[in-house]
Subunit: 235 residues, 2 copies
């Protein structure tokens, strides 16, 4: 099947968690808005007669299905592309990890937009500074420490044990993004989570991911996405 991925064309954002799975899973897909603009994407989020109208991008067209919410898209793709266990218990567990990753992603996004997504960063800088201090001191070690414990309890080297899942691809993206946005803080915390860093390295070394990261399909991190490098926040 040829999937259509709908997401903002100039950022990695939440779409990237889906893209990494599509790439590693050898899926045939097209980034619709990067190829033909955001018109059709906007039309679909506005309804367009669709019963399963998505609240926001990313969403994936898979035949007749239109699936929104990145973790939900990964739930759908997982077993189909060898990126999640097929038995229910394993499927739920990997999805649970992805939902915790999604919670973390939202908190990362809030580092530069703690008051409102509709305001510019420049209009919420004092709040962002205060938020980011707590975030880097408490939340990053808590989330990454959790994933570290999960890898350990699984027997490793991945979150679910011997076999890579889409949650590992997302953990790679988290480590990469934190390195980009908060280089100082990332350096500190990574010392305490060697297993997470090892997952990052293993994912980066996979042939399909390696090729993807070098390709033009990988958009560079930038200050319109989730992970933004604002020096003043990296304390």
């Amino acid at each position: 099947m040829r999937y259509e991925l709908y997401y903002w064309p100039s950022i990695q954002g939440r779409g990237e968690f889906v893209r990494l799975a599509l790439e590693e899973g050898k899926a045939h897909y097209v980034n619709v808005a990067r190829q033909s603009g955001t018109g059709e994407m906007m039309r679909l989020t506005e309804g367009a007669g669709l019963k399963t109208v998505p609240y926001a991008p990313p969403f994936l067209k898979a035949g007749k299905l239109v699936i929104g919410q990145s973790a939900n898209i990964l739930l759908y793709l997982g077993a189909r592309h060898g990126l999640a266990p097929k038995p229910e218990a394993g499927k739920l567990w990997v999805h649970q990890l992805q939902l915790t990753i999604a919670d973390f992603v939202k908190e990362i996004d809030d580092t530069h937009h703690p008051v409102a997504a509709s305001l510019y960063y420049e209009d919420q800088k004092p709040e962002a500074k205060r938020y980011a201090e707590h975030f880097l001191r408490d939340r990053v070690p808590k989330y990454l420490g959790y994933f570290e414990r999960v890898i350990k309890a699984s027997g490793g080297p991945f979150l679910n044990g011997k076999k890579l899942t889409y949650a590992d691809l997302s953990l790679f993206q988290l480590v990469e993004g934190l390195r980009y946005a908060f280089p100082q803080a990332a350096k500190r915390v990574e010392k305490k989570v060697p297993r997470c860093v090892d997952v990052r390295d293993r994912v980066a070394a996979r042939p399909r991911i390696k090729a993807y990261l070098k390709s033009k399909r990988r958009i560079a991190f930038n200050e319109s996405g989730i992970f933004r490098r604002y020096e003043e926040l990296d304390a």
Copy 2:
């Protein structure tokens, strides 16, 4: 099966979305921490030799499974208790709605804790005031307006059409919670989302939910939960 629900004993919180499904779904369950304290819950979140250690409550013990993340628990319970479609397309769609509800819940939680969950509300009041203004003006109408469109597109009266799902139970909880926390703002916005209010009324009138709401099992809203009544935020 006798389920064990683990959640903080004195708040509705995220556990309530699960409880409403257990109640409506005629499930046999016990609120572990309300009966025997939080000891076992803390032990499980700290690992306790568990491979699928949850990041945080709520989590559900279902036989050998330990399932975390409220939307994931509902995904598991849905089809088993007649609260979600069994075919994959419908299952994914109702789950997608639940994930959007979970995003909304996080934003509601942030109205009183926009800087850090680890700080008291009293230590982030100016930020909370500013956050809540944007939240009530932009986000509440956007989320509820979305659910209103979904109900309409489904043919109604519920989010997924003729049959109630766990997402409707959660929408009930959202409307109830907004009424509690932001009575002024809720009055304003409800005029624009009659279908959401109708879902709330239909859920409230269901015999099992009605009995539950009157029982001692339903914890009252209070200022330790997600929905908190702070008059200064309800503008």
